[in-house]
Amino acid sequence: MKIVVSVKLVPDTNAAKRIDPGTKRLVRTGLETVLNPFDEYAIEAALQLKEKLGGDTTVTIFTMAPESGKETVRKALAMGADDAVMLTDAGLEGSDVWATSYAMAQALEKTGFDLLIAGGLADDGNSGGVPGALTEYLGVPAITNVRKIEEAGDGKIKTQRETDSGYQVVSGPLPALITVTMAVGEPRYASLKGIMGAKKKTIATMSLPDLDLDRAVGTDGAKTEVLEISAPKVREKARVVEAADGATGAQAIFDFLRERKLV
């Protein structure tokens, strides 16, 4: 089975972000590029499935990113994926969800897959719209928010799909697209052997001329445009109350709730 994991490279999620008030752009100095944290779970789910199925199952990492993202892709390979495909082209800059998904779908069709796994959300844009749009452009069945892959093979996949209040057992034919939740299991760390091995693994690149696009992508093809960027309302530091005992602490909170008419 050929498993492809679609990942996004994002600015370091644990670093505090700051907008330059003059340029209204993100200050990128000192911000590392990392794998979108949700997508690490997608990689983990793919590697677990590969271990379970064995045989000729392979895991390919796919990403649309600038050339400079290569080192971050190596980190995904170090976790245990077999190879990677990068869609890289300056003409993709400024793509929104629509243009991104459209270009990715064309590249993924060329890459080919039995199972395409994606994380649920990207933590910079937070739209969660790309997997759904890919589903449409690829014309494949989709199962979202999968917490467990029960069976996959023989042209069929069966999953447990997380809901707000429990789960559903959902099945469908392969090839298919699934998105996974954090419940699939904590992403593994790359071993030293994995890191060394990743250096020899293939990262193939595709660019726009390799795709059969019949619509514009990048800024020209985007269906949305950023009109204004501003800083969020800054919250003040907390009023701090040291509570020697439970009653004092509770009274401080209760008075505060009263003050704000919340009780």
Binding site: K17, I19, S127, D164, T224, A238, E242, G246, L257
Partner: protein
């Protein structure tokens, strides 16, 4: 785009509260664009849900009770929504920014070749256009984003960001015809409920959230649940608590969990690292209880009480219950 279409999320005969927020906002946007406000309610029980929606200022409520909507994952819902969008004409489609809303949004945007603006917390309505405003990059920036080169727009809207106001309803209810010639393959074989009454954590007016400081699963039910109940809210958790297996991931609030924006957020034994902050920083009032005075949450909470949560929370629950009894 001229019209507005609200996608109604519902479960077990209950409409999500965010639907009323969307319906109220849809009217304002439709009036600014010079179009009509529509809603789409799909799946078993929709006819009676549509009646509840009649109190809101919508023009048309499109309805089907088709059981296939629940039986097959999303494909029938997307087909119905597409049919409504095409028959309505150029429109802005509003969905809640929830698990379901996000899934449907990406698909319908692609289906209609539409732009998608996500996690919207305000609309700017000037010059006959609807501009979406919302936080991006973990809340470090606020972005105003418009639509271009498209007849349709799709926006996912953060629950609790808009007011819901009933009244002015005179909607016409239209029954939808089943799209012809479709075959569906992704089957919901079984549905299992694990947590009851926790639906709509994103929509709760009050969230009482627990973290590492709780030390185990029990205080979530013995300590936090009674306080949440007394305040009319829901229980949430930090990633540390979910990773430790103390609560299901569906309760996790943060960057990799749910984003909430209640009137009141009480963080109990949560340090407030960026991971958590992203999920709750737009809450109205934030109160933290922690034994450490130097926790990061002190940088952005309104009140930080430093003390023993195991003593403070039960006392507070008593006080809130007492106040309610006298109200």
């Amino acid at each position: 785009m001229q019209h507005v279409i609200v996608f109604v999320e519902h479960k077990a005969g209950q409409t999500r509260k965010v639907t009323y927020e969307l319906a109220t906002e849809a009217r304002k946007i439709a009036d600014a664009l010079g179009g009509k406000a529509h809603a789409v309610v799909l799946g078993p029980g929709s006819s009676s849900l549509a009646e509840q929606l009649e109190n809101y200022p919508l023009d048309v409520i499109h309805v089907t009770d088709d059981a296939d909507v629940d039986k097959y994952l999303y494909d029938p819902a997307i087909d119905y929504l597409e049919a409504v969008a095409k028959s309505t004409g150029p429109a802005l489609i509003l969905l809640p920014n929830t698990m379901l809303g996000r899934d449907v949004a990406g698909r319908i945007a692609a289906r209609l070749n539409a732009g998608l603006n996500s996690d919207v917390t305000a609309f700017q309505l000037e010059g006959g256009k609807a501009v979406s405003v919302g936080p991006k990059l973990q809340g470090s920036t606020v972005v105003a984003s418009g639509f271009k080169n498209t007849e349709y727009g799709v926006a996912t809207v953060r629950p609790n960001a808009f007011d819901a106001q009933a009244g002015g309803g005179s909607a016409h209810i239209a029954n939808l015809e089943k799209p012809a010639g479709k075959a569906y393959a992704v089957v919901v074989e079984n549905e299992v409920e694990e947590a009851s009454g926790e639906m709509g954590l994103e929509e709760a007016p009050v969230v009482v959230s627990g973290g590492r400081g709780l030390g185990g699963p029990d205080p979530f039910t013995s300590l936090l649940k009674p306080l949440a109940d007394a305040l009319g809210g829901a229980v949430g958790a930090s990633r540390a608590a979910a990773d430790a297996g103390w609560v299901p991931y569906s309760l996790q609030i943060g960057q990799t969990g749910k984003v909430v924006s209640p009137q009141l957020y009480i963080a109990v034994g949560i340090s407030g690292a960026i991971q958590h902050k992203v999920g709750m920083q737009t809450s109205g009032t934030i109160i933290a209880v922690n034994r450490d005075a130097t926790v990061p949450i002190g940088e952005f909470a309104d009140l930080l009480v430093v003390g023993d949560l195991f003593q403070i929370i039960p006392e507070l629950t008593n006080m809130v219950q007492g106040a309610k009894a006298h109200a």
